[in-house]
């Protein structure tokens, strides 16, 4: 125990000398890195605009209120598109994520040295690139529109769903699988009666969870031209129609809250 002696009285200390030195060096280097980063940011900032910011913010606020409520009649179709992008994207992603998950899980992969790394690479690469970037790429390839948005959401969700699903597969109870195997079941029967029933609740939970996230992401996909309500948002921003912007933001907020509520209810019912 780290104890120091002062005037013959033993005093408890939290750390030994070496530990506190180590902590001190860690903090010092952290602060130095942060100071460097801050200096770089501050160098590429026009500070005049920043000092002016409160005035600009209040200016935008007065322009944006009250929201242009009658514009909501034109938002029905974009909202439907947004819902479609999220839902169809999630369904396509789940269809593709299931085989990837089975190939990536240690206990079901056919080859741990060859196929598993490929499956893991698919998971990492689709997960680390944001859906907006996928949308940007798909728009360059297949043209703007809802379809590009659906595919972008689908690709982005594969990694997420497959990762959570393969973790669920790795945690299954092996005794149940063994019991099915002992009855003389084939490989596919073992899959259907031994593994699938165990991961079905996890699968449903992942599907709803990802759908909730996808609603969130699909609201902004339109900013790069991939359909949905974001298209209206970027059009309104481009013509500086702030009352429309504020209405769209309210609608997006509402959609996000509702989808979160639905997903929480469904997951609560499953688990």
């Amino acid at each position: 125990m780290p104890v120091s002696q002062a005037e013959g009285v033993k005093l408890w200390q939290r750390r030994t000398g070496r530990e506190s030195l180590f902590h001190w060096v860690l903090w010092l280097s952290g602060v130095a890195i942060f100071a460097y980063c801050w200096q770089q940011i501050s160098e590429s900032t026009t500070w005049f605009f920043v000092w002016d910011a409160p005035r600009i913010a209040s200016d935008i606020w007065t322009r944006a209120t009250p929201p242009k409520w009658e514009y909501i009649t034109q938002l029905g179709e974009p909202i439907w598109d947004t819902l479609n992008i999220a839902t169809l994207g999630t369904i396509i992603a789940l269809i593709m994520a299931v085989p990837v998950a089975f190939l990536a899980a240690r206990n079901t992969t056919p080859s741990a040295y060859f196929i598993r790394p490929i499956a893991l690479l698919i998971i990492v690469s689709t997960r680390s690139i944001n859906s907006l970037i996928w949308a940007l790429l798909l728009i360059a390839i297949i043209g703007p529109g809802v379809f590009a948005g659906v595919i972008a959401i689908a690709i982005r969700s594969i990694g997420f769903c497959a990762k959570l699903l393969y973790e669920a597969i790795e945690e299954i109870d092996e005794t149940q699988v063994e019991a099915i195997t002992a009855t003389g079941a084939s490989r596919w029967q073992v899959m259907a009666y031994g593994i699938v029933p165990q991961i079905l609740p996890a699968f449903a939970g992942i599907a709803v969870f990802r759908w909730d996230i996808n609603i969130r992401e699909s609201t902004v996909l339109g900013l790069v031209g991939a359909g949905g309500i974001g298209l209206q948002l970027s059009a309104s921003l481009n013509v500086l129609a702030w009352p429309q912007v504020s209405l769209i933001l309210i609608v997006i907020l509402f959609a996000v809250v509702i989808s979160e509520w639905v997903s929480a209810k469904v997951r609560g019912a499953i688990i």
Binding site: I33, T45, L88, V124, A140, V220, I252
Partner: protein, 273 residues
Amino acid sequence: MSASTTELETLIGKPWKKPPFIKRPWLRWLLALGFVAYLIAAFLTIEVNWSRVYEGLTRGKAFVLAFTSPDFTTRSSDIYDGMLESIIMTVAASVVGIGISIPIALGAARNVAPLPIYLVCRGIIAVSRALQEIIVAILLVAIFGFGPLAGFLTLSFATIGFLSKLLAEDIESMDRVQAEAIKASGAKWLQWINYGVQPQVMPRLIGLSMYRLDINFRESAILGLVGAGGIGATLNTAFDRYEYDTAAAILILIIVIVMALEYLSGIIRARVQ
């Protein structure tokens, strides 16, 4: 045929059937029907320009091939500057975001904070979580002008919602006994937090911080699309000019950095827990 099966059933009992996932039959059928109806409606309203998609396939192939020969050199200075700016934004925003979220997390934990503070802090968390990064970035760019400052503020703001919520949940589920023992020794409030609460939540805080650093880097890659600094602007230009080899190089760099961060956070989390 049916007579013989019922005879068999009386002898050996009903054959086993796989139990359905949803037990109530009417709910099962309602969900299935609604789902099919929705799918039909969705497919009818989506317009796909198949000839355009078909034309794009050659470009898609060119892009996939670009991954085999990514071009790091032609725009190396742009890529370097963009990446550095992304990393700088990520680090600075993570530090500030985590620094702000710790007091908010304490305020949002019901067993530490009184009710009024609890409600205010939960409100801040809800607002931060409901707004997506890119929308916040658009507004902040409009207010603060182009550049990494807007990106930095966006990421800090988003970090608060994520980290405070998860940290507050961890504080709420901590072991009361240890915290009470510190209190019983006559500790002041700050000492109580420092010696009773902090050691219990520290591993989780470090793990979450590393995870958030990872998310912040991924998000910083798109903030450039709306002018908030980082690699996104370079990437957008590369796509607009159909320079797929440069775009592939940037995407590979992002993937590699994310993988490195994930590996690093795995090691750190394994050490602290």
